[in-house]
């Protein structure tokens, strides 16, 4: 990320221009822009239909630039931030909503028709003994038939032939209107040598409907040959109604799989409060440009990414990082768009706007990741590719076997069971098993500040056996801080000691010096300007503060300057780059005290490492520290193994060594100076501090700098893989068991056959249950 500059920032702005047809057009616009005050540079590109200008935000606004272009006779409007992603999602929503509404209407009417057809089939079953003889559902309906007989006796007086015509009249609109899409899509697929779910429904209901129509229209032809006549209108209508019900439920559930992405998009505020020419303006978010000075009041959402110029507040960043506690912001702090300002007001300068903001990048990554496929999907793909033609073949085989070997009336039984096979087979359950789980899991992760880069990362995370943690910045805060100030004797109490050392260190850039100064400021110890000041490079500083001669540095420096260090308190040795260092302080030539500086272990590290170990992972700590220090920290947090004294460029080699030992290794680091090691690891986990993350570095990116997120990511991956396996298992077993049962394998021994409506209900429920199972991950 770039840092904000305090001087005037002249941002570059690209504006889409419409209506340009030739080089003359672009040249004309360019001349107009170049003549406009406030525009430093302009270039108009005919190829991409856009004008790129560098403008002085104090003199001209982006809207004014658009106005200049429009005056030349061409169209120009500012790009909305992230219009693309938002538009795609909105389009998807519109289409889904329309589909849902249509499905709901069709489903409701079909269900109603199904009830009517069933009631009309009851008197037909009385009139025509063959009708429904083999149908267990019809036997169950007997009490209903009795009731119907008392309520509407004339129905039972109707001749069978007339009832069949009435049934056909009710069924026809269901097939033609509600079922229309099944046939249309099946035909379209067929023309392209493809077969899909609609093919199965279309062939199944089509066979049942056409044979029923034949037996309605030409009943006497069958009867003359002594063939029993049976119609399956109720099966046709029920199949269509139940599949539509299943499709409707599936469409609704599928929409829920992307709620997390929608929620992220909604985080973006609509307006920003920008300060231009000293006045405050409320402007649409899309018009904020890099370099704008923005005001955020208490309770407002921060519009874009930037750096605080003045003011102090606490900001709730939980929506992006998952960090529950508000983060303090003051001059120089980075703020992130979409996070919520709490109690204070502050002004900040926009550093990233539009698609460059952290939120936009997260949205884009989540959208990409949700579409990625874990390798486990390949199995489902292979099956899906051959599924439908194989099922149609099985259905034909079922027909032939029942026709040749089934009991009489064999051609009717052959037909029913062949239809059952077509209808019960559910390729959708298989097709939905993996993608829905990946969608829900990546979305859920993003909500909790865990960006899991796609299906493959999910799958590989599950196999990890060893987690390597880079100590600095991962287990520890990564910045040295004063942990102890001890005064010896009566030369100065600890506050005075800190004041003297701090005053002197103010002018040193060394991290240890800065830690002392920060500590003094935090405690409210007033610092003074030293009257005299000398830096002893690598050793410390010496000078005069408030009339007293002060030396702060290593024992060696103090000895060099003639301070007597005998006694146990003089043994601490400052050593930069280690976990613990001490600065010895002498006042007026005598040993006065000791300031201990340490890179503190983060408060959650121990618990998080405990959770990782509880997940069965071996935790290895990697550090450049000396062995003794490293061992101490390792013991404190409970690491299984400590690899110490590793130079930064050896991290990669250590990961390789662990992998060579047969371990599947995850490496956790800040993603900045350990990128090669993260890339070498089987899973690289980049842990961000706040929201300043190299998001593209790791297979998993944690938005907050808390090891607990690593454990969360492992847990989420494992749960997701479990759900994927359950889904695949269920989808396979369902089909492997369902299809033979539908074909009638249980008939020879148990006399069990299905009816087409039963097969349709099973099919509809199987895909709904797969999506439902994936949605459980929303709570993971």
């Amino acid at each position: 990320m770039t840092t904000a500059t305090t001087g005037p920032v002249h941002p570059e702005l690209t504006i889409p221009v419409s209506g340009m047809t030739c080089a003359a057009c672009s040249a004309r616009i360019q001349r107009a822009l170049e003549k406009t005050p406030g525009i430093d540079r302009a270039s108009v590109n005919l190829m991409i239909n856009a004008a790129t200008v560098v403008l002085d935000p104090g003199k001209i606004t982006p809207e004014q630039v658009c106005a200049v272009i429009r005056e030349t006779g061409y169209g120009a409007s500012l790009p909305a931030p992230d219009a693309e992603v938002e538009e795609i999602v909105a389009e998807q929503d519109r289409e889904r909503n329309a589909e849902e509404r249509l499905l709901r209407r069709k489903m409701a009417w079909s269900l109603l028709a199904a009830v009517v057809v069933t009631l009309l089939t009851l008197p037909l079953a009385e009139a025509e003994p063959a009708q429904g003889a083999s149908d267990p559902l019809m036997r169950l309906m007997m009490p209903v038939a009795e009731l119907l007989r008392t309520l509407a006796p004339p129905l039972f007086a109707l001749p069978a032939a007339l009832l069949r015509w009435i049934l056909m009249a009710v069924t026809l609109p269901v097939v033609v209107w509600a079922g229309r899409d099944f046939y249309r899509r099946a035909w379209a697929a067929f023309r392209h040598h493809s077969a899909e779910m609609n093919t199965l429904i279309a062939v199944g209901t089509g066979a049942a409907f056409v044979s029923s129509v034949a037996m309605t229209v030409a009943a006497s032809w069958f009867e003359r040959r002594g063939l029993p006549v049976q119609v399956y209108y109720e099966a046709v209508v029920w199949i269509i109604a139940l599949i539509l019900l299943g499709n409707y439920l599936e469409a609704r559930a599928k929409a829920s799989t992307s709620t997390a992405l929608r929620r992220l998009i909604r985080l973006r505020p609509q307006v920003a409060r920008v300060i231009r020419d000293g006045a405050e303006h409320e402007i649409p978010l899309g018009l904020v440009v890099q370099g704008d000075l923005l005001l955020v009041r208490p309770g407002e959402t921060i519009p874009v990414d930037g750096m605080v110029v003045d003011g102090v507040s606490a900001v709730d960043e939980s929506m992006l990082t998952g960090e529950p506690l508000p983060v303090r912001k003051e001059a120089g702090s980075r703020v992130t768009g979409a996070t919520l300002n709490q109690d204070g007001a502050f002004r900040f300068r926009a550093t990233h706007v539009g698609r460059q903001t952290v939120l936009s990048r997260i949205i884009e990554l989540v959208r990409q990741d949700q579409g990625s496929r874990p390798p486990i999907q390949r199995l489902a793909d292979r099956v899906a590719a051959v599924f439908v033609p194989v099922v149609i073949s099985l259905s034909i085989a079922t027909f032939v076997l029942w026709f040749d070997f089934g009991p009489e009336p064999s051609y009717l039984r052959a037909l029913v069971n062949a239809v059952n096979v077509l209808v019960i087979a559910c390729p959708c359950a298989m097709g939905l098993a993996v993608p829905t789980a990946v969608m829900v899991a990546t979305g859920r992760g993003a909500e909790r500040g865990l960006l899991i880069r796609g299906g493959e990362a999910l799958e590989r995370t599950e196999r990890i056996g060893v987690v390597v943690l880079d100590k600095t910045g991962t287990i520890t805060e990564g910045a040295p801080a004063v942990t102890d100030v001890r005064a010896f004797g009566r030369l100065a109490d600890s506050e005075e000691l800190l004041r003297l050392a701090g005053s002197l260190e103010q002018h040193s850039e060394h991290p240890i010096a800065r830690a002392i100064v920060r500590h003094a400021r935090e405690l409210g110890v007033g610092l003074m300007d030293p009257q005299e000041f000398t830096v002893h490079a690598g050793l410390g500083v010496a000078g005069t503060v408030n009339g007293r001669k002060v030396i702060a540095g290593s024992p060696r420096l103090l000895r060099q300057l003639g301070v007597d260090l005998t006694g146990p308190e003089g043994q601490g040795t400052p050593d930069t780059g280690t976990a613990q260092a001490s600065v010895v302080v002498a006042v007026d030539g005598r040993l006065a005290g000791l300031v201990t500086i340490e890179d503190r272990v983060k408060s959650h590290s121990g618990a998080a490492i405990g959770r990782l170990k509880a997940l069965g992972l071996r935790v290895v700590m990697l550090t450049g520290d000396r062995r003794a220090t490293a061992e101490r920290v390792g013991k404190e947090v409970g690491a299984d193994e400590v690899i110490a004294e590793v130079l930064p460029d050896q991290k990669l080699a250590e990961v390789k060594r662990l992998q060579a030992g047969g371990s599947v290794v995850a490496m956790v680091g800040d993603g900045l100076n350990d990128a090669p090691a993260l890339a070498q690891a089987d899973i690289g986990i980049a842990m961000g501090s706040g929201t300043d993350v190299a998001m593209e570095t790791g297979a998993i990116t944690l938005m907050r700098s808390d090891l607990g997120g690593v454990a969360d990511a492992f847990l989420l991956s494992r749960r997701t893989m479990r759900v994927i396996r359950q889904n695949l298992f269920w989808a396979f077993v369902y089909n492997v068991v369902g299809i033979p049962v539908a074909a009638g394998v249980l008939y020879p021994v148990f006399g069990i056959v299905l009816t087409p409506p039963m097969a349709a209900a099973a099919m509809a429920m199987s895909s709904v249950s797969v999506v439902g199972n994936s949605l459980r991950l929303r709570r993971a």
Binding site: E91, G371, C428, G431
Partner: protein, 126 residues
């Protein structure tokens, strides 16, 4: 075995054979379309229950732009998946959606619908 049984059995076997030929063999033997010009490898593919053209031939290492013009409205084809290139793209009905990527390795790749039932083939040559 009676005459009708024999007839049904034989027709059934014939139907099974034809289905497997129609959905598998016939598709595989289709000639792959090559891009019109030698510059950008660009195709317009009509999505209507299937892909037309369903077989494409491109060269490795050069960007490919597939413009999917979707005219049907079934949920099956609402997404196109190029699994080997990690692409899953939503195709709004009645619109043309472009997908760009660069195949690096020669080979035969599939592009499919969201559930893997409708497919097309991308042949990448060296």
């Amino acid at each position: 075995m009676t005459m009708p049984q024999l007839a049904v059995t034989l027709s059934g076997l014939a139907a099974i054979g034809w289905i497997n030929w129609y959905f598998f063999a016939a598709l595989r033997s289709r000639v792959a379309a090559s891009p019109a010009d030698s510059g950008l490898q660009r195709f317009t593919i009509t999505v209507d229950g299937g892909y037309e053209p369903a077989a494409l031939r491109v060269r490795a290492g050069q960007p490919v732009r597939l413009e999917f013009r979707r005219i049907d409205d079934g949920s099956c084809t609402e997404e196109v998946v190029l699994g080997d290139f990690n692409l899953r793209v939503f195709l709004p009905s009645g619109k043309t959606t472009a997908v760009e990527f660069t195949p690096q390795k020669p080979g035969s790749y599939l592009f499919t619908c969201g559930m893997g039932m409708v497919h097309g083939r991308l042949e990448v040559t060296a």
